[in-house]
Symmetry: C2
Amino acid sequence: MGHSIAEAARRSGLSIDTLRYYERIKLLDPPERDAAGRRNYSEEDLAWLAFLTRLRTTGMPIRRMREYASLRRRGTASAGRRKAILVEQRAVVAERIEELRACMDVLDYKIGNYERIERDASLVPREATA
Amino acid sequence: MGHSIAEAARRSGLSIDTLRYYERIKLLDPPERDAAGRRNYSEEDLAWLAFLTRLRTTGMPIRRMREYASLRRRGTASAGRRKAILVEQRAVVAERIEELRACMDVLDYKIGNYERIERDASLVPREATA
DNA sequence: GGTTGACCTGGAGCGCACTCCAGGTCGTAC
DNA sequence: GTACGACCTGGAGTGCGCTCCAGGTCAACC
């Protein structure tokens, strides 16, 4: 019923190697194994994986994700600490978005400059041939 | 008149080591030197450096920045190629912002869950003592 | 029963972007 | 004239997040 590592990789967008690596470093709890010792990921495993990849996308370092993962293992008592981590990360993301927006403005300005150069370049011949 | 490496570092927010490293890998043209062989950064050097750090903030890999830097050295003829790089990077940034926004929604959802847990936790005792 | 292919393990290797270090040279302040 | 601090060089080292590899097991299909 569960999912092979190949399928978990496909669904999460991570490589098979990365899945095993995440398990080694305790980001992922070891999934069930079938009779032959092959990993068998549950839907819950995949949901957790999906959340991890979100955290990764926000730029959260693995160290911090491990901290979150270990708190999760401790159950409800750690909910406050976990929430604090997410709230902090939310602030990090908000700031990052602002940074990127500022950089985008600079890019737009520079791109505008290049467009002006192009217009000038196409103007000169026109004047020359007028 | 120029700026020492310490001051260039302070103004750019990079470390002295990073400035020398950028020069080694040809991101930065070698600045002037004073009589004693010490680097002397011009305003123009600092402006270029400021732009580089913007590109870095957008997540552009050094490899690509080097490409841009080398085009710049070739002068006006390379303007089209340089513009193309910036336009592409603009798209990268726009996409990244969208990704981050999506992740922020997930974070908000999760944070909301934790808040619900907190409310429930403070509700139970109230009911118990009622 | 042999081949194939997906999976397993432990461990080495890699690319990136720095960061640090040893050992040396200058110029200024005492 | 010497102590100090800022700078210099070439090269080694670091931390992160994977990624790859050798050598092996196992189940299924021909």
